[in-house]
């Protein structure tokens, strides 16, 4: 084995690969919970580690050790596979997004399309998870998730395309590089696209006001109702990775991604930017009530899709390029 192969394996497994991303996922879950709690005048996680920073990890470990119940009527294969996919898909996408330097671990022309594809696959996984548990609440939750996807998939794709058009490349790393070399962040050029992306990310991550597929008071835990033990642990990990993915994508596409500023390594600027994005997500999820599914879908089509199209047209007209 050459040193190079070893380094690549190390990169995939440790930094900036799986281990680092897991750590980041747990860290951002903690940031999210803590910020949300502070907004609501609560403490949030407090006792596990300093200021409860290890709480998400503790939750994860605890769930791993819990009993794993599979409903009798459930489709066992799909029911078991869904959580795995749910955790693996955002992780795969994160290899494409630049984290530690301007270049991501895996990059190829058109990897942006791949990310869009995986995010669509995730919703499919959610639907399958809800469908395979055969619980009424899960079913409704899964259907809602699928329905919700119809709402946000188009605008989020358009919002992703915006920077790509500006950079002239379908590779995320290239978009990042373009921003850094041209010394302008896309967010200043395409604020509408940024806003659309943020809103759709909330919907993608099922955060209030778009936590419709798992609305606690309406359908218990939605598509996740029947999951427990290791499966639930994987679902939670997937959710956290999704948060990292969404913030990383937003950072890469609109905030110029990992950037070497003076002596600060790019990974630090990346973390600062993503942490800021997570904070913004937490703030936004705190100040709204949940929409109803019909209101959400119609609102998306009525307002966000035209806005996203408008942004694309503006870019084509040369504004925001």
């Amino acid at each position: 084995m050459t040193t190079e192969t070893f380094l690549i394996i190390l990169q995939i497994l440790v930094f900036p690969g799986a281990f680092f991303l897991f750590a980041l996922a747990f860290l951002y879950e903690w940031v999210d919970r803590k910020v949300l709690a502070r907004i609501q005048s609560r403490y949030g996680p407090l006792y596990t580690g300093p200021s409860g920073i290890l709480q998400p990890l503790a939750d994860f470990l605890k769930l791993l050790s819990k009993e794993d119940i599979v409903p009798m009527a459930a489709d066992k294969i799909l029911f078991t596979l869904a959580p795995v996919f749910y955790a693996v898909l955002p992780l795969t996408s994160l290899f494409i997004v630049p984290v530690a330097s301007q270049k991501s671990l895996v990059m190829f022309e058109g990897d942006l399309i791949f990310v869009m594809f995986t995010s669509a696959l995730m919703i499919l996984t959610v639907f399958i998870a809800g469908y395979s548990s055969t619980s009424r609440f899960s079913l409704i939750g899964g259907v809602r998730a699928a329905l919700q996807m119809i709402g946000f998939e188009i605008p989020i794709s358009l919002a992703m395309i915006g920077p790509a058009i500006a950079a002239g490349s379908l590779s995320i790393s290239n978009i990042v590089q373009w921003q850094q070399t041209s010394l302008q962040w896309t967010v200043w050029l395409q604020p509408i696209g940024f806003a659309v992306f943020v809103v759709c990310s909330l919907a993608e991550m099922e955060f209030v006001p778009f936590d419709i597929p798992e609305a606690e008071t309406e359908i218990v835990a939605g598509w996740r109702t029947e999951f427990s033990g290791r499966k639930l642990a994987l679902l939670r990990l997937g959710r956290d990775l999704e948060l990292v993915l969404a913030s990383a994508l937003l950072t890469s596409l609109y905030l110029a991604g990992p950037q070497q500023v003076w002596l600060i390594p790019p990974v630090v600027t990346f973390m600062i930017k993503t942490a800021f994005v997570v904070l913004m997500f937490s703030l936004l999820r705190a100040i709204f009530a949940r929409f109803r599914i019909d209101q959400m879908v119609s609102g998306m089509w009525k307002y966000l899709v035209p806005l996203a199209i408008l942004q694309v047209i503006l870019i084509q007209l040369g504004i925001g390029r």
């Binding site: 709690a37 502070r38 005048s41 609560r42 403490y43 703030l283 705190a286 100040i287």
Partner: protein, 114 residues
């Protein structure tokens, strides 16, 4: 978005939650905590056990030979016994952490000194 301002303000303020088991809240005067009996004053009339709505008080024996058994697990701290006692033999304390796993530990017995 009308809650945004308040949300931002709250983000930089101290939470209002009390870290309860570590940080106990002082209770006000007149708080109705666990009742205690002063057997030097008790005459054993049995009124407390008779008025108790939840049957938490048991009197063993009669009159001045009696003993009081108080089952805290049944007590609902209404303080009717305190109100009914003709002689101030019962007092409500400020004790409120009375939950536990063992019911047998929730029996408080009051015996007379002979």
């Amino acid at each position: 978005m009308s809650l945004l301002k308040e949300a931002l303000q709250r983000l930089f303020r101290k939470p209002v939650t009390l870290k309860y088991p570590f940080e106990k809240r002082p209770v006000p005067e007149g708080f109705r905590g666990r009742p205690v009996w002063d057997m030097r004053k008790c005459i054993g009339c049995g009124l407390c056990s008779n008025v108790c709505p939840s049957g938490a008080i048991e009197m063993v024996g009669k009159g001045l030979q009696s003993e009081i058994k108080h089952y805290v697990d049944r007590c609902m701290f209404c303080s009717q016994c305190v109100e009914s006692c003709p002689r101030n033999a019962i007092k409500m304390t400020q004790e409120y952490e009375l939950a536990g796993f063992d019911r047998s530990k929730m029996l408080y017995e009051y015996k007379r000194e002979i």
